[in-house]
């Protein structure tokens, strides 16, 4: 555990651009050499509300992409859904404004050493980190299929260059405003079988990740997912973001999703443990 977040630094990062894209804001920050240290799956923690804010905690956002232009010019991009007051505040900040930002944080998606057939599944803004991942996978010679789902078309985040980086893109909306009508999980089994998928990478709401894991489990496909737990610090000091994870030794432990996650092995998560400690967890009583 020595070297926790050893790449992370805290900087005042200037907003370079902030644009509305569907239901989200695509925000670009000047972050210097943080860009070169970030990997797909890592996240940033941003202080919100300005200096007299009643909001005392940071907000976590998945890194959508980074551009490494050397130590002076690195860029980092995120996709923000205005949810509550903090994220809404962030979507309202103008270019030129500087935010207090810590990055890169957390675990990254594991990249296979061999070329594999990967399926990337994103829910809502959960698609964001998958595009950077897709690029890395393609560079390694992988085939990349992608399924994006949301309640409605406005909540599908799939920019043009992102679309180009994958071999196939399937979109699914609950209200049918774009793509297939339904949930992402409705289409997974078929794609997995047709395309002989080796590994699923997913990011989105917990309910979706759990449903994906059921399928990957049944079909015996590897599954790495980026989870989203309520976080107070993002750097491992508060213990609020824990979830029950089964270790290689079979022992369930309450691990921090900001340090041991957000990317975890879907099989290791004890799903549906919301509001309770699973029996047999280390230290439960």
């Amino acid at each position: 555990m020595i070297g926790i977040n050893k790449n992370a630094t805290q900087i005042m990062a200037e907003i370079v651009s902030n644009k509305k894209v569907g239901a989200y804001n695509h925000i670009v920050f000047a972050v210097g050499d943080i860009a070169s240290r970030s990997k797909p799956g890592n996240f940033v923690a941003i202080a919100v509300g300005g200096s007299n804010s009643a909001m005392v905690l940071r907000r976590a956002f998945a890194i959508y992409r980074t551009f490494d232009k050397g130590s002076s010019g690195g860029l980092l991009e995120i996709v923000v859904a205005p949810h509550g007051e903090g994220s809404t505040w962030l979507t309202n900040q103008l270019p030129g404004y500087k935010v207090d930002l810590i990055a890169p944080l957390g675990t990254a998606f594991g990249i296979p050493t061999e070329p594999v057939r990967a399926l990337l599944v994103g829910g809502g803004y959960g698609s964001a980190p998958l595009f950077g991942l897709s690029e890395v996978l393609k560079n390694r010679g992988c085939r990349v299929d992608m399924v994006l789902g949301a309640s409605t078309a406005m909540k599908i985040y799939a920019p043009l260059d992102g679309k180009r980086s994958v071999n196939s893109l399937t979109t699914v909306t609950e209200d049918g405003t774009t793509g297939i009508t339904g949930k992402v999980t409705d289409v997974l089994a078929e794609i997995i079988e047709t395309n002989e998928i080796d590994i699923i990478y997913s990011c989105g709401p917990m309910g979706m990740l759990e449903a994906i894991n059921e399928i990957s489990s049944k079909l015996d496909v590897m599954h790495q997912c980026a989870i989203e737990e309520s976080m107070a610090c993002g750097i491992g000091v508060c213990m609020t973001c824990v979830l029950p994870i089964k270790g290689d030794d079979g022992q369930i432990r309450m691990l921090r999703s900001c340090i041991d996650g957000p990317v975890v092995d879907g099989e290791s998560v004890v799903w549906d443990s919301k509001r309770s400690i699973p029996k047999g967890t280390w230290g439960a009583h």
């Binding site: 555990m1 020595i2 070297g3 926790i4 977040n5 050893k6 992370a8 805290q10 202080a47 009643a54 909001m55 005392v56 905690l57 940071r58 207090d100 810590i102 737990e229 309520s230 107070a232 610090c233 750097i235 491992g236 000091v237 508060c238 213990m239 609020t240 973001c241 824990v242 979830l243 432990r253 309450m254 340090i259 443990s273 919301k274 509001r275 309770s276 400690i277 967890t281 280390w282 230290g283 439960a284 009583h285």
Partner: protein
């Protein structure tokens, strides 16, 4: 030269800015951001006898200028802690205050015995006030007799050297009464304050937001309660050293607690908003003290209590 040193009981510290128990992980997480040896002390997360999973999630809710937590003292238990965390902290050159918490008077006694022979520890913070453990009725610091029993158990078992700092909850009718009781029972100093019991209801689910329903309120929202508690206790017992905490996010805030009577200041929630908060506060506090004409930290401790008309 400005003298930033402070002391709690026999323990000396190079400066008065400490981490708050439960708000600095194992120390490793923060060491990415600054040298732990720069701190007055690292106060460890309250450690219990056995490994503990802590409470179910959700464990936190943000509140206006504060937050609610119900971690439930998650931790590896004293044996693994002594084996893994203490040696590492010692290697970093950190000044160490170990916080302990028990579920019974006997727990406190056993914990004290396990710690008495451990070298490299500066003081013991005895958390008798965590409102997160299962049974609210069992909070030691809420009643004079149980508070006394826990501290006596530590006193009897710790041996002569290590200063005992009793950490109290503000959720009592008279914190002065509890403070007097634990000092009589052998506490060398007091840690004031632990979190304030609170609740947030999620208006979407229409249920308490935390799985454990209630949680401890911390952050700037509670600073006025901390200042009041420190002031009252320092007034009643000016010779008992106080480690102050509660909502400190700037040098100004730390200065406020020191003027009220704190000899050192722990920083908790502010670290969640800014991992470098403790270093920022350490620098800002020194500037506050110097710009107000103090030659040493010690002169400023309890300065708000001086007689009318008496200026520096």
């Amino acid at each position: 030269m400005f003298d930033y040193k402070t002391s709690l009981g026999q323990a000396e510290f190079s400066n008065p800015i400490f981490t708050a128990s439960g708000c600095a992980g194992s120390g490793r997480e923060l060491s990415q951001f600054f040298q732990l040896s720069e701190l007055g002390a690292v106060v460890t997360k309250s450690i219990m006898l056995k490994p503990r999973s802590g409470r179910a999630t959700p464990r936190m809710a943000e509140t206006p200028s504060g937050m609610l937590n119900s971690i439930g003292l998650q931790g590896p238990g004293i044996d693994i802690f002594l084996e893994k965390d203490i040696p590492w902290l010692r290697e970093q050159g950190a000044n160490i205050v170990v916080s302990i918490a028990g579920e019974s008077v006997d727990d406190y006694a056993v914990l004290a015995r396990k710690l008495r022979a451990v070298s490299g520890i500066s003081a013991l913070e005895v958390n008798i006030s965590c409102p997160n453990v299962e049974n609210r009725g069992q909070v030691f610091a809420c009643q004079p007799n149980t508070a006394r029993a826990a501290i006596e158990a530590v006193r009897r078992n710790i041996g002569g050297e290590l200063p005992i700092i009793a950490k109290l909850t503000p959720d009592v009718t008279s914190i002065v009464e509890i403070a007097q009781e634990v000092v009589a029972a052998g506490a060398d100093g007091l840690a004031l304050i632990n979190t304030v019991l609170g609740m947030v209801i999620d208006t979407n689910t229409m249920r308490p937001k935390l799985a454990g329903k209630t949680g401890g309120l911390s952050g700037p929202a509670i600073r006025p309660v901390a200042v009041r508690a420190i002031y009252q206790v320092h007034e009643a017992m000016p010779h008992v050293k106080i480690l102050g905490m509660g909502g400190v996010a700037s040098g100004r805030d730390a200065f406020e607690l020191i003027l009220a009577g704190a000899s050192a200041v722990s920083v908790g929630t502010a670290t969640f908003g800014n991992p470098n908060a403790v270093m920022k506060i350490k620098e800002e506090l020194a500037n506050e003290l110097i710009s107000h004409g103090f030659d040493s930290l010690k002169e400023a401790v309890g300065y708000a209590h001086r007689a009318e008309g008496n200026l520096l």
